[in-house]
């Protein structure tokens, strides 16, 4: 650890590594590029100064597994909610209820794995349940995910039992359904509760987008398998509602984020902009396939594939928009100005 190539230049024969930052691990021989290349942009008329166009904020350090989790968590949340509703309908939808519970249980395990993979110290994943901090949407979400997955798993295992165990399973199923509601939407609150300009600006419309996309994602996921006629009708109605709401919410996010031109820019440009457009096109195509009057197996499969791709593209678009937005100092300055309070700024 210590030695001439740990970036500290402390000779272990002469000095002890006991400082506050002494435990910081460093990859040997690697010079970190902290002056990242940032495209210099000329100030538009009326725009204020910046510090050599350097970003104010640190870019989110999250990797691909986080947007994938936004999708798996949303899909399982919406599936659990739909399963809870179907549970109230009686025996005919019973197999579908079990399927929803299994989506919740398997989705929960996959979600946990994705989130742990993103951690800087994965072996400390259980620290997430060390405290409950209501001011942190990530803390709230960790508890919701843990509880919803556990209940969904229990309900799935007890789904075929009779008597008391079945009752316990149904109770767990209802609990999981109730927790599925926040599970599908808290991730939007999580990204809205940051200093990242585009996420912060769209904090009121993003929850609608994430929940609508979760409905679309769950319906699309069920479309990929074979469904009995009544199950197909449930999924179809749920999917139409979700996809239509998603298209409306996309417009709402665009308008909320776009109130300041520069803040909404990542949704129109670059990787995030392309993904955002792809999400719109794929979701609209999936909706069209769902609305076809005579539904064949192939049309259902197409709707499912398009919808799944659309839901995934949407989460990646929001994720990359945040990354791009955090690099823009002017967007940050716009967002960090309270219209209601005046400071003594000259």
């Amino acid at each position: 650890m210590s030695g001439p190539d740990d970036g500290r230049y402390v000779d272990p024969e002469l000095g002890l590594l006991l400082g506050e930052g002494a435990a910081q691990r460093i990859a040997a021989g690697e010079a970190r590029e902290i002056w990242r290349d940032v495209a210099a942009s000329l100030p538009a008329p009326g725009e204020g100064p910046t510090y050599y166009d350097r970003p104010v904020l640190k870019e989110p350090v999250w990797i691909w597994s986080v947007p994938v989790y936004f999708w798996t968590g949303g899909t399982m949340g919406a599936a659990l909610a739909l399963g809870g509703a179907a549970q109230l309908a009686g025996a005919e939808l019973r197999p579908f209820v079990r399927r929803c519970r299994w989506v919740g249980a398997v989705g929960g395990a996959a979600s946990a794995a994705l989130l742990i993979h993103d951690l800087g110290r994965p072996e400390r994943f259980h620290h997430m349940l060390r405290v409950f901090r209501p001011t942190s949407p990530m803390s709230v979400g960790s508890w919701v995910l843990a509880a919803a997955s556990t209940l969904a798993g229990g309900a799935a295992l007890l789904g075929r039992r009779r008597g008391l165990l079945r009752g316990a399973g149904d109770l767990a199923g209802l609990g999981a359904a109730l927790l599925g509601l926040p599970l599908a939407g808290y991730t939007a609150v999580l990204v809205g509760n940051t200093a990242v300009p585009v996420w912060l600006a769209a904090r009121r419309s993003l929850p609608f987008l994430f929940i609508a996309s979760s409905m679309s994602g769950a319906a699309s996921f069920f479309d990929l398998g074979s469904l009995r006629p009544r199950e197909a009708r449930v999924v179809r109605a749920f999917g139409i509602a979700g996809k239509a709401a998603e298209l409306a919410a996309i417009a709402a996010v665009e308008s909320e984020a776009g109130r300041v031109e520069r803040v909404g820019r990542p949704l129109r440009e670059g990787v995030a902009g392309a993904l955002w457009t792809a999400a719109k096109v794929l979701t609209a195509a999936s909706l069209a396939a769902t609305l076809l009057p005579r539904r064949s197996r192939r049309a259902g499969l197409a709707a499912g594939l398009l919808g799944t791709a659309g839901a995934l593209a949407l989460r990646f678009a929001v994720f990359h928009a945040g990354k791009a937005s955090s690099r823009d100092p002017r967007a940050t300055f716009h967002q960090q100005r309270l219209p209601s309070c005046e400071t003594s700024t000259p």
Binding site: Q24, A31, G192
Partner: protein, 264 residues
């Protein structure tokens, strides 16, 4: 006892002794050796292993009552640091409880608890805290927690040759800052003002334990003009989510009910 820093940028000479003292005392690794080509600032930004950063601003604007041989020109230098906000975005975002407020009223990351989730990185409106990729955890200024326990002045303030970085009890620092501001105004430096000195002037953070005396807009120093801790506005997002969740519940129940009739 609440302690903090008062950084008077008008006397900073940009010597970077604070940066060096911080790295040395805390035994932080180097960040590689870079030439930014933009100014004398080759440190570029605060980061996981850079807890003090001196920014250099060359302005084509003269400072009031200052004579230069170059005409319309002035240097601004500022030693930036974690602000140890009264309402800290990182602390409120931390899901593990790794970030806490100490007995000195400072904000501290416990390296043995942090699991590197990265949420604090997005929650800081100043872009201070960062996760070191090769280490996996989030790091920032501790306000020399170990030195405070031994009744020592933090390394940066101790090393500052011009008293630009002043350490002390927060109440006393505020008085000192007000006196310094009055002196500067009296001398005709009307553009001098205090950034984040208390909750009244910066409600979004509840005031900063490390506050600054500046002579230009905050943006010039890469500081957000009116920083707001994200959680201030989280209620709106939770409310929207509750509404959307109700909508999804209604859609789920409606889909199941409508399927009974035999028509989609």
């Amino acid at each position: 006892m609440a302690v903090g820093f008062f950084t008077d940028t008008t006397v900073c000479i940009g010597c970077k002794a604070c940066e060096v003292a911080c790295k040395e005392w805390n035994q932080l690794p180097d960040d590689g050796f870079h030439f930014t080509g933009m100014s004398y600032d080759n440190t570029a930004a605060l980061g996981a292993s850079t807890w003090r950063h001196v920014s250099f601003v060359e302005r084509p604007v003269a400072l009031s009552e200052q004579l230069t041989g170059l005409g319309q020109f002035s240097w601004l230098m500022m030693s930036d640091v974690c602000k140890h906000c009264q309402r800290a975005g990182c602390l409120e975002a931390c899901p593990t409880g790794a970030i806490l407020r100490t007995e000195h009223d400072t904000v501290y990351v416990q390296p043995d608890i942090c699991n590197g989730c990265g949420y604090c990185v997005t929650a800081c409106p100043f872009g201070v805290i960062d996760r070191r990729e090769d280490d996996g955890r989030a790091w920032k200024c501790t306000l020399c927690y170990d030195r405070l326990r031994g009744n020592l002045t933090p390394a940066c303030a101790k090393a500052c040759p011009t008293d630009s970085i002043q350490f002390g009890e927060l109440d006393e620092l505020r008085e000192r800052a007000a006196r310094r501001l009055a002196v500067l105004h009296e001398r005709g430096v009307g553009e001098a003002w205090l950034y984040g000195a208390d909750a009244a002037s910066q409600p979004g953070t509840g005031g900063l334990n490390a506050f600054f005396l500046l002579v230009d807009k905050p943006e010039v120093y890469n500081l957000p003009p009116e920083p707001v801790v994200p959680t201030h506005r989280a209620g709106e997002a939770w409310g929207a989510m509750a509404l959307a969740a109700l909508g999804m519940a209604a859609a789920a129940l409606g889909s199941v009910l409508a399927s009974r009739s035999g028509r989609g």
